[in-house]
């Protein structure tokens, strides 16, 4: 029997885990059906604040306070809190690859369920420059030897301050044409907001951190030239067996 094929997102997660593991990041996980407490409150989203509207959240019938997580950032609070309960103070380095949800109509670039990879590094000396360096290394290794530049633009997220949008430019002969030499918006990121550390029981006077959340579907689309994000959940071997 011929070998079967791996889903491209699984392949990406395997690769990302290897790259981040070499940089000291542990693979962490958390529930997809999540409380607003971890999805919003712990992350410094004020109650009744318009920032919550940015999220297009799925709420649950007869389960007030529960949502399908809108980002993998729910694990920030869960991970830090659980470490502090075990008396394990920072430094922490974790990645959280996993499924997230947006309540929106689907088309070739939008899906209601997709994959994100969260990164969180907390320590006494973690800086925004480290965020740039970490992402540059990740993309360099993912695009094997290509020349990768990372650019920040100002942005806003309730759980980071400062907050940035991250653009990437990959150059090199082996880079897919769609990507080569172009600035592409990749993700939101920033320095962990002191309130997020405080909410999880970590002393913000002593520790700082960076966090980012990158769309894995988006990386897959760019890297392999996939033309429709809905193929990811198509369970169609005409697609899967190409990987």
């Amino acid at each position: 029997m011929e070998r079967g094929h791996i889903h491209p997102i699984s392949s990406l997660i395997r690769e990302a885990n290897r790259i981040f593991s070499d940089m000291g990041f542990t693979f962490a996980e958390g529930p997809l059906l999540e409380s607003e407490h971890y999805n919003f409150d712990m992350l410094n989203f004020p109650k009744d604040h318009p920032a919550r509207d940015m999220q297009d959240t799925f709420f649950m019938k007869d389960e007030p306070g529960m949502v399908l997580r809108t980002h993998t950032s729910n694990v920030q609070g869960r991970y830090m809190e659980s470490q502090m309960k075990k008396d394990m103070v920072p430094p922490y380095r974790v990645i959280v690859p996993g499924k997230v949800f947006r309540n929106e109509a689907t088309d070739i670039t939008h899906e209601a369920e997709f994959y994100q990879l969260e990164g969180l590094a907390v320590g006494e000396d973690v800086t925004l420059a480290n965020l740039k360096g970490t992402l540059a290394r990740f993309f360099r290794e993912l695009f094997k030897g290509a020349d990768v530049e990372i650019r920040f633009r100002p942005s806003f997220f309730p759980f980071t301050e400062p907050s940035v949008e991250v653009d990437m430019r990959v150059s090199g002969e082996n880079v897919p044409e769609k990507l080569r030499g172009r600035w592409i918006e990749m993700m939101g990121a920033g320095m962990v907001h002191p309130n997020v550390l405080k909410n999880a029981g970590v002393d913000p006077a002593k520790y700082k951190g960076f966090a980012f959340g990158v769309g894995l579907d988006r990386i897959a689309l760019l890297r392999w030239g996939i033309d429709d994000i809905r193929l990811m959940h198509s369970a169609d071997l005409r697609f899967i067996n190409q990987f």
Binding site: T26, P50, L128, A129, P162, P176
Partner: protein, 593 residues
Amino acid sequence: MKISREWLQTYFDAPLPEAQVLADALTFHAFEVETVEDDVLDVKITPNRGHDCLSHRSIAKEFSAIANLPMKDDPLRAVISLEPKTDVIKITIEDAKLCPRFTGAYIKGVRVGPSPDWLRKQLEAVGQKSINNVVDITNFVMFNIGQPLHAFDAGKLTDKGSTRALTIRLAKKGEKLLGLDDKEYELAPSILVIEDANAGVIASIAGIKGGKPTGIDETTKDIFLEAANWNGVTIRKTSQALKLRTDASDRFQQVISPELTAYGTQAAAKLIAELAGGEIVGYVDEYPTPQKSWSVSVSTSKVNKVLGTVLADNDVADAFTRLDLPFEKKSEMFTVAVPFERLDLVIPEDLIEEVARIVGYDKISATELAPFSTKPEVNSNFYAAERARGELISQGYSEVYISVFADKGKREVLNKVGGERPYLRSTLIDGLREAHERNVRNKDLLGLKEIRLFEIGTVWGKEEEQIMLGTADEKGVREEPLKGLTSEIYDDLPTSTTERYKIFSRFPFIVRDIALWVPASATAEEVLEVIRSHAGELLVRSEKFDEFKKGEKTSLAFRLVFQSFDRTLTDEDANARMESVYKAVKEKGWEVR
């Protein structure tokens, strides 16, 4: 928010660069600019700056800081006095939490008419329709400095002993208002309104929509100009409940400073007196608890510790100066006296962000983290999933992802867009079975003898969430919980080596088999080559599926799959291709069985 370059220019003596240059400056130092069209920028103001940046003045302020280009004049730094006061209109605020400030001006003897060209053009540039001079001025002031205003026809407010009275209160059940948009709004007790108190009728929905009965028209002589400050959450909820978003509600729901009402009232009153005539009789100002001033401190070393930079005190001071953030420096500490409108500046990190974006994020280097002191833990679920993946793939199973939304299940989503498949799946079985059936139909196209699928995915019971491992093959579909496994290290498993994905045809395909007798000297490859070269470009797959020898001859059988990228093939299409194949093999002297 739409920002007109010409409008911005009114804040500067020096000529501004072209719109695209403005857009790039804003994008890399303040806000993303989504489009630039006809000298108008669509600026995406982030929610933290909704307090102060939904106005031309504030975008001018941002550009001034970014480009280090001085502004002619900042209207929000002027000294304002709301004198003289008038008692022609009496204001009562029932709950100051919902209305922290209510400011107004009574103007007598205006002439309502068309706006002058400059005003009409400026409003039109940002997508606003010109209505009349008075209404246009209230809109102009809002887009200019960010304070929404509303003008009442004072003559239509009920007079009692030569005073009029407005009460700010929550609506009563059953109360209604005919809006300026000619729609009737049914009000609920959560909605904040302004009541014409002498008549006991509602005059407007606070911060969102004026009422038709007290609106401005050509006959209006005396006006009462309102510039109030409203509770953001109340406005947001009202706006949602009434499905009514206005430029005013967009601003109030972001929470703006109550200090701004004075600037708004005075700017609008003066412009009305100038452009529509009339006399400013006096101002009213209910402001029970004035906004307190505050300061935020940060040191250069803290800035550098967060950003990973080596900025000097001068760099930090320069950023604050350009942003017009007044500061004092004592030993290490910069203490910024935050301007009243900058409600976003609360903690040291907020100031660090200000420094970072003015200095420029391009000045931040890419520095890798120091090596980590402890070895990363191996996640037992991920380890188990990876191990299962490795084993199943080696047995010919391919991995699929299937949507977690289903048409049955034990948990249901409340608000799914479109409403289809609102349940969270409680099993992988149904999805895998359906996917298996679907893929079986493509078996020949895929060149597979058997379809084998697996999924590692989440399912939901009544209480719990669980990761399952499901498989589907010709024997059936099954699932079991994925059990975590402990390990010291992850297995070294291959990743996909595919370089590019190839688009596949979504049209049906046609399968044809051909069997031949060939001399023993002919190889299957040679025969297949002849078949391929005569089958045409619609042949997408071809392979040998049978071979046996009988004396000097070999019997070979091939399966050919035809498919088009742009249409459904007919039998005739396939027949025509097969005819050329038959002809070619016969010419070779091979016998079609």
